[in-house]
């Protein structure tokens, strides 16, 4: 067995990185230790074998292939999340306006509760705004019909006027909501577009820099001598 204390010195000697004193000490040890001598000889032979195994490495293509690489962009992510939240909010608002969240009191039993059309706007090819408008018109018509019905059956009751919903007021409310919705949408769209433009600018700058480097790579035919 090789003396473990000399292992580092053997390796240093093998690769010519041994100090003068350590070398002298190792030589003295090797005079008396056949096991270490054998190990060192074995290592020398092994190095010769390894040196024979120089792989035939194919020439490297001189153009570096660019790949799309994912980069985490918090600003873009925030913008996307914000956009999603706003769209979800807009959807919820539209649902509320259609009466899913709030049904005005007072429709008679004869009037059926308003419901959303079964088919989705995408499936029917009709825009959400159009569906909202139709639903509002339908509801106003139903309210007017119920008011007329109430007027015929109880003409002397003055309290019922408080519960009646004015069609023009409802239209005005709807128009106000629509304006607010459109304003929010426009602001969000501007923000998202700004973020996209900024991101494109950054990516473009980066690609320009990389392309310039790659051109140099492709043209670097002159073999330089490394001084080191």
């Amino acid at each position: 067995m090789t003396c473990t204390t000399w292992q580092d010195r053997l390796i240093e000697r093998l690769y010519g990185e041994i100090g003068k004193d350590a070398d002298a000490a190792l030589s003295a040890h090797l005079e008396t230790c056949s096991s270490c001598r054998e190990t060192l000889d074995g290592f020398h032979r092994l190095r010769t074998l390894m040196a024979e195994d120089e792989r035939d490495i194919p020439r490297v293509p001189r153009v570096v292939v660019l790949r799309d690489r994912f980069k985490f962009r918090p600003a873009l992510l925030a913008a996307s999340l914000l956009g999603t939240v706003v769209l979800a909010g807009a959807g919820a608002g539209a649902g509320y306006a259609l009466g899913l969240g709030h049904v005005p009191a007072g429709p008679p039993a004869t009037s059926p509760a308003p419901t959303l059309p079964a088919a989705s706007p995408v499936a029917t090819g009709v825009s959400t705004e159009e569906l909202v408008r139709r639903e509002v018109d339908r509801r106003i018509a139903a309210l007017q019909a119920s008011q007329m019905h109430a007027a015929v059956s109880k003409p002397a009751d003055p309290g019922s006027a408080d519960h009646a919903v004015n069609a023009s007021e409802l239209r005005a409310e709807f128009a106000k909501f629509e304006r607010r919705l459109n304003g929010t949408r426009a602001a969000d769209l501007d923000y998202v577009l700004d973020q996209i433009a900024a991101s494109e600018f950054r990516v473009g700058t980066r690609l320009g820099k990389t392309n310039q480097a790659l051109r140099s790579v492709a043209l670097a035919n002159t073999p330089y001598v490394n001084e080191q």
Partner: protein, 193 residues
């Protein structure tokens, strides 16, 4: 005009002269591919790792410490990428079957052509021996193989290998000893001395 050192070129790259990368690639693509192709199984993977290494150098030029050696830094990046790739392969349970004696690449002709032509048996023996050395090297634990490759084929000093791997110089030497000893034993078992 003095030839710029690698570190000069990196400083120049850092200050926005992208053409310096071309010179660095021209200098180092060969040694780096040789090193990486001994650490990964497939030549395509080796090329990918080399390309990724240079892209990382371009990306992270600002992170290069003044006074450090470029080659140490480059080998560090390449080694980490090789390790990542091995981890990915392990994760996906990919099985690489190496046929006995099938060196994936053409072995280089070291003997004189006339000797080989006149003595096919010797040529066959050479090929077998080289295959055995390669397999013995591949069978080593990664930490021993990395040290051996950096020393034997890349010619780095012990201090530089320690820097690349982030370990003490004595650790490098003991890994070196263990690796060489394991290879020596394994080849002796095959009658190769």
């Amino acid at each position: 005009m003095a030839v710029p050192t690698d570190e000069d070129l990196l400083v120049s790259l850092r200050s926005g002269h992208a053409e310096s990368l071309g010179v660095l690639v021209a200098r180092w693509e060969g040694p780096l591919l040789r090193f990486v192709s001994r650490l990964v199984d497939r030549p395509d993977d080796a090329r990918d790792v080399c390309q990724e290494t240079f892209l990382r150098i371009l990306d992270k030029a600002e992170a290069f410490r003044d006074g450090a050696r470029f080659s140490t830094w480059m080998y560090q990046i390449a080694l980490n990428l090789c390790r990542d790739q091995s981890r990915r392969k392990r994760r996906w349970g990919r099985l690489v079957i190496v046929e006995p004696g099938a060196g994936a690449e053409t072995p280089k002709d070291h003997a004189a052509p006339e000797t080989r032509a006149s003595n096919p048996a010797a040529a066959y023996e050479d090929t077998e021996r080289r295959g055995a050395v390669r397999r013995a090297l591949s069978a080593l634990p990664p930490e021993q193989r990395e040290v051996l490759l950096l020393k034997e084929y890349e010619g780095l000093k012990f201090r530089e290998i320690a820097d690349v791997l982030g370990v003490a110089e004595s650790t490098v030497k003991s890994r070196m000893y263990a690796g060489l000893d394991a290879m020596r034993m394994s080849l002796a078992g095959l009658g190769i001395q």
